[in-house]
């Protein structure tokens, strides 16, 4: 009995506990899969694949120097268009160029009084390098660069997504973050069917330490890619071309930031004629990144590209047509006199500013370029030989006493001076011819201006006004001293040209092409 009461009491005591317990608690918590943490200690930072040394080619060989202008090769670097880089970043490139006995010059614009415009600088440059421009180029500058390439110069344009002139520090991305680098660079590249895209390439799985540092292993069969296995570009624009060569392209998993798709985007493109190269990254050229993977070899190939053009020199490059000290050849006609000395002294000053010596000599010697002056009826036999070699027909040899100049055709020599340029292995020779001694002196004065002002230049030939022509008083048909023939306005009188008939009257005949 008593025992029963004890059990009852115990039960009654436990009853509220059980009721309350079950009212609130329906089981025991056990962590489902256990608490599993990442193994942080095994995480390591990726290291770059470094090469021991850069593939910098040795000093220029005799063969290389033989093809180079004796005055030396010059690579001109643009710093006049808001270029977002420092020259010191190109140390390895400039060292490699110096090792090949190439001079590096900087174009800072023509704002200073003694500064030469771009066109003048390109006359003697071997290559023109434009990096990360953020100021637009003028139309004339684009034309000058295009002509430069057409005549054998090499153009290298580099744009980099991180060099768009925007300095966004401490996450401060306020305002428009679109820079001008792509637009400016594309101005230069447009004539060559190359265009940068305003994007950057990235790869989230195969990269060099960060998603925007892409590893590239897809190369075209091109000298620029010679000896390359893998290179690393550090945030690179993609580049488009229809007719050019995509030398280096991204592979699988390399996306464009614009499309977030992988389509084998190019980061290095060469123009169809091979004279223009566009690169989408600058950082790979700088230290220490030029030691990663095959970047050093690419740098060496880049130097080969810059020095690989064969510059054609003609009179439009005056005064940079000479590579050696210049000697003016005196003759019976053109000797030292008060007038000739005054003319030549001006030329000497102009040449000296270009690091060229100008002397006067009776006998040409080796190691000098020559300037020869004579009349349209040459006194000097040497001049006659040179003229014939240049396919120039002098008035004395012409039935109609005209001067025939390649690129110009037949011209009335009255009041004109002729300049003609010839190159040989030994020297460069500039021939000046005119109708009279006075005209010849006037023509020689143009040597001092440095730019052949007042002359019409066609390749190796130039015609300059040095005296009074027979234009308005010419007895030849057509007026203006032009004989009938190709290029003349046949059937049109001088009177009609000056006072054209009013509409409704007899229409003017169409000029023959």
């Amino acid at each position: 009995m008593k025992r029963r009461r004890l059990w009852l009491a115990l039960g009654l005591f436990l009853l509220p506990l059980v009721v309350r317990g079950l009212w609130y608690y329906r089981g025991i918590y056990r962590p489902g899969m256990g608490v599993d943490l990442p193994n942080y200690s095994e995480l390591t930072a990726p290291t770059p694949p470094l090469r021991e040394s850069l593939a910098v080619k040795p000093v220029a060989t005799e063969a290389e120097m033989g093809s180079a202008p004796r005055r030396g090769r010059v690579v001109l670097i643009d710093m006049a268009h808001g270029n977002d880089f420092e020259l010191s970043e190109l140390d390895r490139l400039t060292q490699a160029l110096s090792a090949r006995e190439v001079k590096v010059e900087v174009f800072e614009g023509d704002f200073k009084p003694d500064a030469q415009p771009l066109g003048e600088r390109l006359k003697y440059a071997t290559a023109f390098v434009v990096i990360a421009p953020n100021v637009s180029f003028s139309t004339s500058e684009v034309q000058q660069a295009t002509r430069f390439v057409a005549r054998g110069g090499r153009l290298l344009v580099i744009a980099d997504p991180t060099r768009n002139g925007i300095n966004a520090g401490r996450f401060d991305l306020a305002g428009d973050v679109r820079g001008m680098d792509v637009a400016s660079a594309n101005q230069l590249l447009s004539p060559f069917d190359i265009a940068f895209s305003d994007d950057y390439l990235y790869n989230l799985t195969k990269n060099e330490g960060n998603f925007r540092n892409v590893l590239l292993s897809t190369f075209a069969d091109d000298p620029l890619a010679e000896g390359l296995s893998t290179i690393a570009f550090y945030a690179a624009h993609s580049i488009y071309t229809n007719t050019g060569v995509s030398v280096i392209r991204g592979g699988e998993g390399t996306f464009s930031s614009i499309t977030d798709s992988a389509a084998g985007y190019a980061v290095a493109v060469r123009s169809q004629d091979g004279g223009v190269l566009a690169l989408g990254d600058l950082t790979f050229l700088t230290s220490p990144y030029n030691q990663v993977a095959d970047n050093g070899a690419l740098l060496g190939n880049l130097v080969d590209f810059l020095l690989g053009g064969e510059r054609a020199r003609d009179l439009s490059d005056y005064p940079f047509i000479f590579d050696q000290p210049v000697a003016v050849l005196t003759t019976e006609l053109f000797g030292l006199s008060a007038e000739t000395i005054q003319t030549l002294s001006a030329a000497q000053v102009a040449f000296r500013s270009l690091d060229l010596d100008l002397t006067v000599t009776e006998t040409p010697s080796s190691g000098t370029d020559l300037v020869m002056l004579d009349l349209f009826e040459p006194v000097d036999e040497t001049v006659t030989e040179e003229v014939e070699a240049l396919d120039i027909v002098l008035p004395r040899d012409s039935d109609e006493a005209t001067l025939t100049v390649p690129e110009f055709g037949e011209v009335n020599p009255a009041g004109l001076g002729l300049m003609a340029l010839s190159h040989s292995e030994e020297r460069t020779t500039l021939i000046l011819l005119a109708d009279s001694a006075e005209d010849l002196l006037a023509l020689a004065e143009k040597l001092g201006f440095g730019g052949l002002d007042g002359c019409m230049i066609r390749g190796r030939y130039a015609l300059c006004k040095v005296g009074e022509g027979e234009g308005f008083g010419s007895e030849l048909e057509g007026g203006f001293g032009f004989p009938l023939g190709e290029g003349s306005l046949s059937g049109i009188s001088l009177e009609d040209l000056i006072n054209p008939p009013t509409p409704g009257e007899t229409p003017m005949p169409e000029p023959t092409p």
């Binding site: 009491a9 115990l10 506990l17 918590y29 943490l37 996450f171 401060d172 305002g175």
Partner: protein, 282 residues
């Protein structure tokens, strides 16, 4: 007592009532379970992290707290503070279930915290993701006339390139935490996840970044279910722990005009979402 004598009615009642009363009194010692709420409505920085850790430790040691709901509306914050809270949450989870409710945003470091919980519930339009690291590189090393140090990186902390590569390490840690926390639930490729995108809750659900779409009530119910408790009470752990009010320390830059911009005040590594700024008027 003789066999013929029976206990009095009072005594019989005593045998019933007294144990019952004692049992009721003993039962009152059984605490009503609490589902605790820990709010994060700020970036993850030293003060907010310490605040959260205090609440986590309170939840861990107090027996009546049976489950925790982490209520997030945060763009993330510093790497070190995020990892500190993440590890404390892992310790708590070994004893009690933790559920995340995303009310607004769980970006970057905030999402890092959420993958360390058993369940993630989000609003349909809440912002989820931004997996990745952000940092400002130190300047190029230079020497100054009057500021002298004993090593090239004493002042700058690390070479620029090394700082960039270390970000990959932190990113990998973040990514592995996501893999550990989400496991087979993830329906997204690594490449896509690591792009750093932010997804709305509905899409995050489809990608396996969150478990359910719902409200705080649902999160509380789920936490209670995991903890096997019923008829619980829901409490803000800050109040329950009698902690001081949250310290409003400025984490972001404040301009001269008093505008708080979403840029951290000092350089470093961040698991942080920085929204694009407003365009300035021309």
């Amino acid at each position: 007592m003789n066999e013929g004598q029976r206990p009095s009615p009072a005594l019989r009642l005593g045998w019933i009532v007294l144990p019952l009363i004692l049992g009721v009194l003993a039962a009152s010692l059984i605490p009503r379970p609490v589902v605790g709420l820990i709010y994060l409505n700020d970036a993850i920085h030293a003060f907010s992290a310490r605040d959260m850790i205090d609440q986590i430790r309170f939840a861990h040691r107090e027996p009546e707290v049976r489950a925790v709901v982490l209520v997030l509306d945060s763009p993330g914050g510093t790497v070190s503070d995020t990892e500190a809270v993440y590890l404390e949450l892992a310790r708590l989870r070994s004893a009690k279930p933790v559920v995340t409710m995303v009310q607004g945003m769980a970006a970057s470091g905030a999402y890092y915290l959420s993958v360390g919980t058993e369940l993630i519930i989000a609003g349909p339009s809440s912002q989820i993701g931004n997996v990745g690291v952000i940092s400002e590189l130190p300047p190029y090393p230079l020497v100054l006339e009057d500021l002298i140090s004993t090593g090239p990186y004493k002042i700058f902390g690390a070479p620029r390139d090394t700082q960039l590569r270390r970000m990959e390490t932190i990113k990998q840690g973040f990514y592995r935490a996501v893999l550990k926390g989400r496991g087979d639930k993830l329906e997204i490729e690594a490449e896509t996840l690591l792009r750093g995108e932010i997804w709305p809750g509905s899409e995050a659900r489809r990608l396996g970044l969150v478990d359910e779409l719902g409200s705080l009530s649902l999160a509380v119910e789920q936490a209670a279910r995991l903890a096997h408790v019923a008829n619980y009470q829901v409490e803000d752990l800050r109040e329950l722990a009698d902690l001081p009010p949250a310290i409003n320390a400025p984490f972001f830059v404040e301009t001269e005009q008093g505008v708080i911009t979403p840029y951290p005040r000092r350089p470093g590594y961040y698991l942080l979402y920085i929204p694009p700024p407003e365009r300035r008027s021309p």
